[in-house]
């Protein structure tokens, strides 16, 4: 049909699924190019019947991550779990939802227990890979020392933190991963500075980077392809690795159960939750914001920030949160060329 007499139209690059570029699967692409989650053969490492709340981001994130890791390892892996929601809702006697060898020891020691499992595998000459997982409390607070030790020794463990920004298992208390201004049971929306303090922040992925470990990444349940790619990449590397996944909690954040993924998406799109990768101490990639939104659009959907919008006008702290987003956007280079 091309004719030299016709004006040349720049041929658009043929994507195979404009329709579903960001969907879990797509009937048009080869199985290998679809997300692990699209496969009827996915391991469902975390299977039905668990007792997570409706729309639980952590349940989702855990299945995403572990299924991907199981694909990457040919199911030859063991998971170690910190105490927390994930542990409680998956393994109340007499039923477990896990479908892989899984060990729960304590709240603060998942990283160390995983180190032990990995050591046992090494000494026994087995190739079995090890993942440790926990919530933000078990990772950034009580498990932090063990985590840092595991990093520093470069133990062959992938640690996955499902970050729902608080102690949700015990009834939504503040953790060091709780964002400023957020209301929790221990940072109530009372007094002149309602909600969580504007502290100095404790972004464990960057602390992980400071350990110069082979691989660090952040991800969200809103971008499955990115998450799976990172987990699979991590499983292809030996040594200490860390992935922190943003997993919204409908209960703790005060949002409808159907908004879980949307909130994770908006957390990224406003710049509050930077998505990046680092290798051996250097940041190597950042996921660009696709459709930038003001942080307000993210906050206003959640009851934990309701006090910021109470009197008809925005609390000045919304601007402070926006400043945090802006700093992230600048620091991590989160805008694409056309947005910048």
């Amino acid at each position: 049909m091309t004719d030299s007499t016709h004006a040349q139209n720049p041929a658009p690059s043929l994507k195979y699924y404009q329709k579903g570029t960001f969907t879990v699967g797509n009937r048009l692409v080869a199985d290998a190019e679809r997300a692990v989650q699209s496969s009827p053969e996915r391991s469902n490492a975390l299977t039905s019947g668990h007792r997570a709340c409706q729309g639980c981001g952590e349940a989702l994130g855990a299945r995403y991550a572990i299924d991907a890791a199981m694909r990457a390892t040919g199911n030859d892996m063991i998971a170690v779990n910190a105490t927390g929601c994930l542990e409680v809702f998956t393994t109340p006697y007499p039923e477990t939802s896990w479908q892989l060898p899984w060990l729960h020891s304590l709240f603060g020691n998942a990283a160390a227990v995983a180190t032990g499992v990995a050591a046992a595998m090494r000494v026994k000459g087995k190739k079995t890979r090890v993942i440790a997982q926990g919530g933000d409390g078990g990772t950034t607070d009580i498990g932090f020392q063990c985590l840092s030790g595991m990093f520093e020794r470069n133990d062959d463990v992938l640690y996955i933190c499902y970050d729902n920004e608080g102690y949700m298992n015990t009834g939504v208390q503040r953790s060091s991963a709780t964002p400023p201004a957020a209301r929790t049971a221990t940072t109530p929306a009372l007094g002149p500075e309602p909600g969580n303090v504007f502290g100095t922040g404790k972004f464990v992925p960057k602390i992980a980077v400071a350990h110069n470990i082979p691989y660090v990444a952040t991800a969200t349940v809103a971008d499955l392809h990115d998450l799976e790619r990172k987990v699979i990449k991590a499983m292809g590397i030996h040594g200490a690795r860390y992935i922190q996944i943003n997993v919204p909690c409908p209960l703790g954040w005060g949002a409808p159960s159907s908004d879980t993924i949307k909130l994770a998406r908006l957390a990224v799109e406003c710049g509050l939750y930077p998505i990046f990768e680092a290798e051996h101490g250097r940041i190597t990639a950042a996921r660009k914001i696709r459709r930038r939104i003001p942080v307000r659009d993210y906050l206003i959907l959640q009851k934990r920030y309701a006090h910021l919008f109470r009197n008809g006008e925005d609390d000045p702290r919304v601007a402070r949160l926006q400043a945090i987003c802006d700093a992230h956007i600048a620091d991590y280079g989160l805008l694409g060329d056309d947005e910048a």
Partner: protein
């Protein structure tokens, strides 16, 4: 092979002979020489197939041990005092998960005031954690108990703690018969775990158990530990056959046959007590002693059988359960419970924070138990003057400051030495 060797190094050699696969180390006095010793054996290649992991805390040490054990490895670690407390949560957890970890406890006092010297406060703090707790009288026994502990722990799927008096044994150079590898191998079969993390056969280990089954879980843990009461003598007999010497046992009586007074004690102080008993026997006194090797499980019946004919039982222990008295005395009392003509029980707290327990003081103690009995726990060699003054001062002054510091000040004044 007979060696004149430091206790810690003797234990390190024995542990290496047990072929541990993962060793977790975190330094704390007075346990350090043991892990240094095994570390050296791993680095030098003398101990093969072993991962030596320098962890960042005792909590991590036992946690790494938990992971490795659950994954089917034979695991060893060691700690003392504050270290044991820092790993306390994991201590209970290892037992709850039924993991046969063997740990040396270089017994040491617990602060504040910080104190690096020997007593049994640390071991006693974990007495309810579900571990087997064995106490060594000397370094030969320390060596032997480690070998037995691995077999016992693995047979029962239960962690075992070998309690060795800090400094007094860990740092003592003495004659120890170190067994050879073939002997240990014939006594201790390779670890065959009851359950293990295995991708071929997956399971979820460490479930949350509610009121509907928790009692049963605890009952079974108790039942399992009581099994050790049968297994310990069995294994010790087997040990004697293999190694040509007796070791361990639940407890060991010393000259108790016709004894009217029997002393109950654990650990290295038993040696000194035996010397005192010989001396008193020579003087015609009907006295004997029981060295308790297995504190957990507590051999109630075996102990009762020995003590039931005595008139006096003197419990000498290196721990005070503040507000009650000596825990060993309480347990011994429990063993005597419901006896018709039960002996009188005298409780003595001795050797706290490394204070030497001398023959002289013990002799007087045993004499007084019969002739000038006391009520409640008796603190051996207590400096009553200092205590009296401090109590008096505390009554007068509201902001009396730290008791420990004031006592040191008083002692310094008394000895005309500059404080600190």
């Amino acid at each position: 092979m007979l060696k004149q060797i430091e206790g810690s190094h003797a234990m390190a050699e024995a542990i290496a002979l047990c072929r541990p696969e993962v060793i977790c180390a975190y330094p704390i006095t007075p346990q350090t020489h043991i892990v240094e010793g095994v570390g050296e054996l791993v680095k030098s290649g003398a101990l093969q197939n072993c991962e030596f992991i320098n962890v960042e805390s005792e909590f991590a040490a036992l946690s790494v041990a938990i992971g490795a054990s659950a994954a089917g490895a034979r695991v060893y670690t060691a700690t003392a005092s504050q270290g044991l407390l820092f790993m306390a949560e994991a201590v209970y957890n290892a037992a709850g998960l039924g993991l046969p970890i063997v740990m040396t406890l270089g017994n040491r006092a617990i602060g504040a005031p910080i104190n690096i010297w020997n007593d049994h406060s640390d071991a006693m703090s974990m007495r309810d954690a579900g571990w087997i707790q064995l106490f060594a009288e000397n370094n030969q026994e320390a060596v032997d108990l480690h070998i037995i502990a691995f077999r016992l722990a693995e047979e029962l799927s239960m962690p075992a703690m070998v309690c060795v008096d800090g400094f007094i044994l860990t740092h003592a150079f003495e004659r120890v018969d170190i067994p050879d590898q073939a002997q240990v191998d014939s006594f201790l079969p390779p670890y065959d775990p009851v359950q293990v993390l295995d991708p071929e056969n997956p399971a979820s280990i460490g479930a949350m158990v509610g009121p509907e089954a928790f009692t049963e879980v605890r009952f079974l843990a108790h039942y399992k530990q009581r099994q050790a009461l049968r297994l310990i003598p069995e294994f010790c007999e087997d040990f004697a056959k293999t190694f040509g010497r007796a070791a361990g046992g639940l407890l060991r009586p010393y000259r108790t046959d016709d004894a009217e007074t029997i002393v109950v004690a654990m650990g290295s102080v038993v040696g000194t007590i035996k010397d005192v008993i010989d001396e008193m026997r020579d003087a015609g006194e009907k006295i004997g002693a029981v060295a308790l090797v297995s504190y957990r499980p507590f051999p109630v019946e075996a102990l009762r059988d020995i003590l039931k004919h005595a008139k006096h039982v003197v419990v000498v222990e290196k721990c005070i359960s503040v507000g009650v008295g000596g825990p060993l005395a309480d347990n011994t009392d429990g063993a005597l419970r419901n006896l018709r003509d039960r002996p009188k029980l005298h409780s003595a707290i001795a050797g706290l924070g490394g204070r030497p327990i001398t023959r002289e003081s013990l002799k007087k103690l045993f004499h007084d138990a019969v002739h000038a009995p006391w009520i409640g726990p008796f603190f051996l060699d207590l400096n009553e003057r200092v205590v009296g003054r401090e109590i008096h001062r505390g009554r007068k002054v509201r902001r009396a400051g730290s008791t420990a510091e004031n006592i040191l000040k008083q002692l310094a004044l008394a000895s005309h030495l500059p404080p600190g």
